[in-house]
């Protein structure tokens, strides 16, 4: 079924009896050409682009829980391509271009809103760094604009620019960045992949690999063995756990990141804004809640919930930036498990096992990468060669020294 305005009117007049489920709930077959482990945004996008762009069939996505229940439904919905390094920026800009056409492509309302992101700057050194990053973005075909304090105040008149410790000197604007309804992205990809024959198998946890003579033959799951010519893992926070089944030890630590939403307010924040003197980002959802977050808690965790010192830290940053936020009540907070890599950048590569591929190490920047991650992973799975925007996301870069350390923090995952 194609969704359209006409369809909505027709269904409204006929009692909404014509809407069917958005995707099937198939039983797993005994074998597939491609098995994708992980039914998050990246896994569903991979399956979709495998079917659509690379004309592959016999594809399954295995999800241990339900579609939209993991990090794709837990993030703060920001979409942007304001990176600096050559290994990263072309990839994220490719992703942003895919975001721009995503809703028409999927025939699904993902509420993609290019409302712009402003990174605030608070020192001369930070201004220099932002100018450099902005130039790197422009060189890679993205858009970037340096804003003065006055220009920032025109958009956000209630900002505390006179803070004695962290005065706001201006900001780096990427106007094409914005937000998207996160779980609608998962549902949209799931529906579009399903329409192209992909089997989305929920409540199916992978419990092991069957590997013989260095070649993967399939996966053991909670619903029995499923054979596969090629297996692609993209399980974010569970990466180390799943790849350990294949005897692999990864350059990844799993950490908890908390996110927060306030009560619904009238429109107050026109775009996404980040605090440059700490780590804080906030936007306002269409429902009115302020959606915001800060740093990861900083210790290994698989608990999907964080501790109070980081909650306090995030609130302090919020109030430092917008004193008026002190009047809003916090409605909810939650946690998600981040696959923090050793250099802060992702890995999309083959493994030493024939037919087994790995996609992970997204740190807390995976959501914006969803379309491109799916596209380049599908490229790798279908052609065995990396996509031209993802040649540096290699698993062996920690051996060869070709790190992509955007933040320059070294091998300390809790600082990326």
């Amino acid at each position: 079924m194609r969704y359209s305005g006409f369809r909505v009117i027709k269904e409204a007049l006929t009692g909404h009896r014509g809407w069917g489920p958005a995707w099937r709930d198939p039983e797993p077959k005994s074998d597939y050409d491609f098995v994708i482990i992980g039914g998050g945004g990246h896994g569903l996008a991979t399956a979709y682009y495998l079917a659509k762009e690379f004309k592959q069939s016999r594809i399954a996505v295995l999800e241990k829980g339900w579609i939209g229940g993991g990090n794709v439904g837990r993030n703060t919905t920001i979409v942007r391509s304001n990176y600096m390094l050559d290994g990263n920026e072309p990839f994220y800009e490719f992703s942003l271009k895919l975001w721009e056409g995503l809703e028409q492509e999927l025939n699904y309302n993902a509420m993609m809103s290019q409302r712009g992101i402003i990174n605030l700057m608070h020192s001369d050194a930070q201004r220099d760094a932002y100018i450099r990053r902005g130039n790197a973005m422009i060189l890679n075909g993205a858009d970037a604009e340096l804003l003065s304090q006055k220009q920032v105040l025109e958009k956000y008149p209630f900002l505390n620019v006179q803070n004695a410790r962290f005065p706001v000197m201006g900001g780096l604007l990427q106007a094409r960045a914005g937000t998207a309804r996160h779980d609608a992205v998962a549902w949209g990809y799931a529906r579009a992949a399903d329409q192209r024959g992909v089997d989305i198998i929920q409540n199916c946890e992978v419990t092991g690999f069957r590997i013989e003579n260095g070649k993967v033959l399939g996966v053991e799951t909670s619903r029995g063995f499923i054979g596969a010519k090629k297996v692609g893992a993209c399980v974010a926070g569970s990466s180390s756990k799943v790849m350990a089944y294949a005897g692999m030890r990864l350059p990844i630590e799993s950490h908890v990141l908390q996110a927060f939403v306030s009560e619904g307010l009238k429109p107050v924040l026109p775009g996404v804004i980040t605090f440059g003197a700490g780590h804080f980002y906030v936007s306002q959802s269409d429902k009115g809640g302020l959606v915001f977050g800060g740093n990861i808690d900083g210790y290994n965790s698989y608990a999907s919930r964080g501790n109070l010192p980081m909650v306090e830290d995030v609130m302090e940053e919020a109030i430092a930036m917008f004193p008026m936020m002190g009047r809003a009540r916090l409605l909810r907070s939650w946690g998600g498990i981040m696959d923090m890599s050793m250099d802060g950048s992702p890995i999309i590569d083959k493994t030493h096992i024939d037919g087994l591929y790995f996609n992970g190490g997204w740190c807390y920047g995976g959501f914006k990468a969803t379309p491109a991650s799916g596209f380049v992973y599908a490229h790798l799975l279908a052609t065995d060669t990396p996509h031209k925007t993802a040649t540096e996301f290699r698993l062996d870069r920690f051996h060869t020294g070709h790190m992509i350390d955007e933040k320059g923090m070294g091998n300390q995952p809790n600082l990326h």
Partner: protein, 95 residues
């Protein structure tokens, strides 16, 4: 999270800084034949277990001691806290 410091008693999480897996205490021998491989492993790969995890915490806002904390990464329950100094000595590492 409260860390029960062996010398100072229960202290709040916010007083501590986290380093990582306690395997970081065991720096490889730089003269070994496979020293390069060992150091890459030491620097970049981790077990990253879901469950009991031995890890290094630094009491920065306190007595500046290094601790080896055994904590469940699924529940955040802390079951053992030792001074890193004692752990190293027990392994015969320093006098």
């Amino acid at each position: 999270m409260i860390i029960n410091h062996p010398l100072l008693g229960p202290r709040d999480l916010s007083e501590f800084v986290y380093l990582g897996d306690a395997c970081l205490m065991n720096r490889p021998d730089w003269q070994a034949d496979d020293a390069l491989e060992q150091f890459i492993d030491y620097g970049y790969t981790r077990d990253n277990r879901a469950g009991l995890h031995r890890e290094l915490w630094y009491h920065e806002q306190g007595d500046r001691s290094w601790l080896v904390v055994t904590r469940n990464t699924v529940t955040h329950e802390i079951t053992q806290v030792e001074l890193a100094r004692d752990v190293a000595r027990a392994e015969g590492r320093s006098k």
